[in-house]
């Protein structure tokens, strides 16, 4: 094998991996079912990916006794599927499965804590990235606390993508554009 081919074959897997992540995310954003979930936010920073709003979902803490299949055979670290039902303003959990349910919308997650009937489930939807200069809608820096909603796309296998963060029902980018900028008055 010549040196050029060897070099580019060695480099290719990393490019394919990043492209695959992006393609999968695009596919989910275009095709999967859209659900709206309640968010309990805060505002930290990732050294690699930048500033984000931590978006722990209200349904991350489940009271399993209130769900159908109240005692599924799941332990810490197991994958579970949380079946959701459309409600206003947020979709709500109705059942817990240890395998993808045949129909309906179910979010796939991993059990991280079990304390009696209260389980913590990690759906991998806990970060919404915002610009470094973007306004913080988490409410920690404001007197009023806006209602945050996670706009999520879920496919039939339970894989999900956080598509947008609604601030009082408005997409984050629109809401952010209306916010006063620091130093704007001085100019």
């Amino acid at each position: 094998m010549n040196a050029t081919l060897k070099h580019w074959l060695a480099v290719a897997p990393s490019f394919l991996a990043v492209a695959a992540i992006a393609v999968r995310a695009e596919w989910l954003a275009a095709r999967a079912v859209e659900v709206r979930l309640e968010v309990a936010p805060y505002d930290p920073m990732d050294p690699l990916a930048g500033r984000y709003i931590a978006t722990p979902l209200a349904i991350s803490r489940l009271n399993v006794s209130e769900l159908r299949n109240a005692s599924p055979q799941a332990v810490l670290g197991d994958e579970v599927w949380v079946e959701l039902e459309r409600a206003t303003p947020f979709w709500r959990p109705t059942a817990l499965h240890v395998a993808p349910p045949p129909d309906g919308v179910a979010l796939r997650g991993v059990v991280r804590r079990q304390w009696e009937n209260t389980w913590t489930v990690d759906y991998g939807l806990e970060r919404f990235f915002i610009p470094a200069s973007g306004a913080d809608p988490s409410g920690l820096n404001n007197v009023s606390r806006p209602q945050l909603t996670a706009l999520v796309r879920v496919d039939s296998g339970g894989a999900a993508l956080l598509v947008d963060l609604l601030v009082d029902g408005e997409p984050y980018a629109q809401w952010n554009a209306r916010q006063p900028r620091p130093g704007a008055d001085a100019r």
Binding site: A10, E126, P131, L161
Partner: protein, 402 residues
Amino acid sequence: MSTRLQALETALAELEREGALSAEQRSLVVARVRAAWNQRRVDFAAVVAAFGGLLIAAGLLYLVAYNWELLGKAAKLGITFGVWGGLHWAGWRLTERGQHPLVGRGLTLAAVAAFGGALGLVAQIYNLSSHYPHAALLWWTLSLPVAFATRSRAVLELVLALALVWAGWCTGVWIDDRPRALFADWATNLTLVGAALAALLAGLVALCERSSCAAFVPTLRRPIVVLAACAPFVFAFEENWSPTQVGPLDAPQATAGVLDLLARLAPFWAACGAAALVLATATWRRRSPYVAIGWGLLAASVGLASLALFAPYWLPLVANLVLFGGALTAIALAARLGRAPLATAGVVLFLAGVLARYFEHLWDKLDGAFAFLATGALLLGVAWAFERGRRAARQELGAVKS
């Protein structure tokens, strides 16, 4: 030129004047010594190129971290893939043409670092997050082929650093997920995973020796002593194994079954499995002292793990024996393998152990002022001993010259 090399060449010239060496013999020896020296010395241009590459990558990561408001998704992806691919292309082109191989390698290093930036940007665009550090896993595993294809030690060093960070990060997440994690869980898992990884690296050194990857041996060998020393060094502190820190570890039969106890060190057993696999392959394919070193490290770490689980109060005593025994073994191995840095590491390890025990045991028995006085006197004594040793060496050198 190095003062040591100068001294050697002066001595050879004197031997030639005295008639002990012919001019031809002297030039042959000088040529051979210079060639060996040039092979070992650090190339300034290579270091500058590597730093330049790393700074470019850091700049890229910095830009990525500051989410560009004005760019759309496609533009962000285009810039990321463009810059990242461009770095790879420029690195390959400059290296292949042979005109600027060091700058080329520096750019390839930047491209490998930029892979992390690309992963971070894609996570940012699509709001992706994961509980375990899967991005770090992708980063180091998919960069490994680049290290092999380019035979670049700098790239391997970056990959190795990422792999070690990933292993520690995974261990931390696993411990954090445990209900009621104690200090002992952190101390045992993190340090023992390090010891198992040291055994794994010893196996990799054995596999790489006398193969087409022989250039990677120094990079793989370097972290072994530090990783192996962490566990006995931390375990040697008695305070770490007091009842308040150890918790239910002191009464295994009363609190948990053997399997439950073993499960407390799950990350360590996983690292042991990987190390055993590599060492078994090395045992089958190569005859190397590093195979024995690897198995020895693995056996010692499993022994320390068993003590931590089943007899934690014995751990400080045994850890001290392992620490000082390990330091002496390193010095003995240095003499056998002809590796001066290993002897230095052994001496530093021994000194660190002595100082740690000194501070650990004397601090409680003396008032603060006496402790400071004694510590100061100890450090002065160490400095005096070093200076005396250096003066003796200089005198010896002077005697040889005259």
